[in-house]
């Protein structure tokens, strides 16, 4: 009896030892406390916010996550990085529908921290709470959680899952792509060529595909479309992973990912993610003109809120 007990406990000990590093990293990354600071709207004109009051998701079980991606290389203070990528994702488990809305990083908005500026600055001024509050007040949506990933984190995550398979819609050729990863001089640049068509991308080439914008007439909008493609490919690949892969994945992205989603919710979402199989039920939205137009202050993009808000309220009720 004692031997059996010792054997069972040893099996459990081996399993615990295997998963402890992943659990430790997961505890550090997950369940981040967010302070969503309401905007000091008394001081600033709440133009877009008048009709944009955040409402909780009325559909049972539906939730909205704000995905944030940042350049976090040595050019930036680690605590004050811009969010080069902002994607609102709404998931409706009952209908297995997913809607992704890319928010242009240069969109000129009323920031929750005060004043006006490009929306990518919200995170740098006040962290995830400010980014969430800015999106909530300007777009009139309720954000349940956020996930932030750093530049190197995305590269490592994709490598940790063995790369992704995507259909790159067009060749991405850039003479001035930033050479700020694995580089001693973060202001350097490099030439890149990601060719078109179905292919397997490792982390660094997937990053090049989603980050390059100089060779795309649609600049940030084209980049947003590519980011959504890669997100879907990551989701597809993640479905192939087994629990035994968790420690390696956690070690790869440790420190490069933060989220307000608790571990219990993550565990509940994993089987849910695997059940979303119909690509026709994944809606991808980009705020191209006429939803936005150029000419804003400091190279920013102006929003046409009269068009954006009805769109957002339709898909993010």
């Amino acid at each position: 009896m004692l031997v059996v007990l010792a054997f069972v406990m040893s099996l459990a000990a081996g399993g615990v030892a295997y998963f402890i590093p992943a659990a430790q990293i997961a505890f550090e990354a997950a369940g981040q406390v967010v302070h969503v600071t309401p905007s000091p709207s008394i001081l600033f004109s709440p133009t877009p916010s008048e009709s944009a009051q955040p409402t909780a998701s009325p559909v049972t079980g539906a939730f909205t996550v704000l995905l944030l991606g940042s350049d976090d290389d040595s050019k930036f203070n680690p605590d004050h990085v811009l969010t080069q990528s902002m994607i609102l994702v709404r998931v409706v488990p009952s209908t297995k529908e997913v809607t992704m809305l890319s928010i242009p990083r240069d969109l000129y908005v009323h920031l929750s921290t005060g004043g006006y500026g490009k929306i990518d600055g919200a995170y740098s001024y006040g962290g995830p709470g400010a980014a969430i509050a800015t999106v909530e007040q300007d777009f009139g949506v309720h954000v349940d959680d956020y996930i932030w990933v750093g530049l190197l984190g995305l590269v490592k995550l994709i490598d940790a899952i063995g790369g992704i398979d995507v259909v790159t819609s067009n060749p991405v050729l850039d003479d001035y792509y930033p050479a700020d990863i694995y580089s001693s001089w973060p202001y350097d640049y490099q030439r890149i060529a990601v060719l078109a068509g179905p292919q397997h991308l490792d982390g660094i080439h997937a990053m090049q595909y989603v980050r390059s914008r100089h060779g795309d007439l649609q600049s940030d909008f084209g980049r947003s479309r590519r980011q959504q493609q890669v997100l879907l490919a990551i989701r597809q690949k993640a479905k192939q992973m087994s629990p035994a892969d968790l420690p390696a994945m956690a070690a790869a992205i440790g420190g490069e990912l933060k989220t307000s989603i608790g571990l219990d919710k993550v565990a509940a979402m994993l089987p849910l993610a695997a059940s979303f199989d119909n690509p026709d039920q994944i809606r991808q939205l980009i705020l191209l003109p006429p939803y936005t137009h150029g000419g804003g202050p400091g190279g920013s993009i102006n929003a046409n809120w009269n068009l954006i808000l009805p769109l957002v309220h339709t898909y993010f009720p």
Binding site: V3, A6, M9, S10, V167, L173, Y176, R191, G197
Partner: protein
């Protein structure tokens, strides 16, 4: 009565073995898709179950491999080599990637470089990036006289556009003799993958905004097959923006075109269409449940090889679709009643012949990881 020492020692051994075994077992249970690809020459099982005709050339991890008589041979080291194609002399044209440029070489059939055709690395390095160039997708015309390629030689001063165009030059000549056949577009990704025709014209993949073709369509970048028969002429679209097609390959008898169409989604379909020398007939999808890439016809017309993951989200493997899958032999005529004299009774109804079993694609490799952006070449 077991002594306490022995009992403690036994328990310690059990705990040690149990925990270590569990740890190692979990460590060995990684997903199959995380396993790095093996070299085709080492991959098991070998491609022995079905032997392809002739010699097929393809690229993996910067090396070019040949597949002949069921065996892979590594022709070049893993040093940035890709995009093999054949010249009429049996030599191989291939691209070699540098850090921020690529060059065209002619290799002998064993992979030994015979000639460097381009020198696209700028002496000033990245001081002026526009002085560096990319060359992709080399092809020699059917008459062996003209070299076709994709080249970013039309870059404008002071702008960021790097849209390559289709160029031609005398085969054996120098790049300075090259002339552009297309304009490469404007911030679109350019014109890619030329397919020279015996008529002297060329089919290629043009990337453009769908709204430039049809103002009612979304402003998405899509691929389309285009045709042009003289330099600097406005070409003609062979496929529509909604089809989002690329990677053309002409059948050995010149009557059918294979291509990859994605219909602007994250899927890809192996599509074939009849070809009359200047236009495509109705499309027919022959593979729809795989992420297919780079189709190429067998030189003896026995089928089409392509690259696609071996399992969901896995590395790209070599597949072969026998001709019977997309061009089934004609059904035998229905049996006629037994000849003979007058027959008063009811004629015997011919029993329907059993439907032929569907012909499925054959997976030729299992553990490889071929470069799906690199076209394959196939010689007799």
């Amino acid at each position: 009565m077991i002594s306490r020492f022995v009992l403690a020692l036994g328990l310690a051994v059990v705990v040690l073995v149990g925990s270590t075994t569990t740890f190692m077992y979990l460590g060995a249970r990684h997903s199959k898709t995380l396993a790095p690809p093996e070299k085709p020459t080492a991959a098991t099982p070998r491609a022995h179950a079905f032997t392809l005709p002739g010699t097929l050339y393809l690229a993996q991890s910067g090396a070019i491999y040949s597949l002949s008589a069921g065996r892979f041979h590594q022709l070049t080291p893993e040093a940035g080599w890709a995009m093999p194609s054949m010249d009429p002399n049996g030599n191989i044209l291939a691209i070699k990637y540098g850090s921020y440029w690529s060059d065209l070489y002619v290799l002998n059939p064993y992979g030994v470089p015979l000639l460097q055709v381009t020198s696209n690395r700028a002496r000033s390095g990245m001081v002026d990036p526009s002085l560096n160039h990319w060359v992709f997708y080399p092809r020699v015309s059917p008459d062996g006289k003209t070299l076709w390629l994709t080249y970013d030689g039309l870059k404008c001063d002071g702008c960021y556009d790097v849209s390559p165009a289709i160029y031609s030059l005398p085969y054996g000549g120098a790049l300075r003799q090259a002339r552009a056949w297309t304009d490469g577009g404007n911030y679109t990704g350019g014109d890619q993958q030329p397919l020279p025709l015996s008529s002297g014209a060329v089919v290629y993949t043009r990337y453009d905004f769908a709204s430039n073709i049809d103002s009612n369509l979304d402003n998405k970048l899509v691929g389309m097959l285009w045709y042009t028969n003289r330099p600097n002429a406005v070409g003609r679209a062979l496929t529509g923006p909604g089809e989002d097609c690329r990677e053309p390959s002409l059948s050995p008898d010149g009557t059918e075109m294979a291509m990859i169409c994605t219909y602007q989604k994250q899927v890809s379909y192996l599509t074939i269409a009849s070809w009359d020398g200047s236009s495509l007939g109705p499309r027919r999808t022959i593979v729809s449940d795989q992420l297919v890439a780079q189709p190429i016809w067998a030189p003896d017309g026995s089928g089409i090889a392509y690259l696609a993951p071996g399992e969901a989200a896995g590395a790209f493997q070599l597949w072969f679709l026998p001709k019977a899958a997309y061009a089934p032999p004609p059904a035998p005529p229905p049996p006629s009643p037994t000849p003979g004299g007058p027959h008063n009774g009811p004629l015997p109804s011919p029993s329907p012949s059993p439907a032929p079993a569907p012909v499925k694609p054959i997976q030729m490799t299992t553990n490889a990881g071929f470069d799906a952006t690199s076209p394959m070449a196939w010689s007799r």
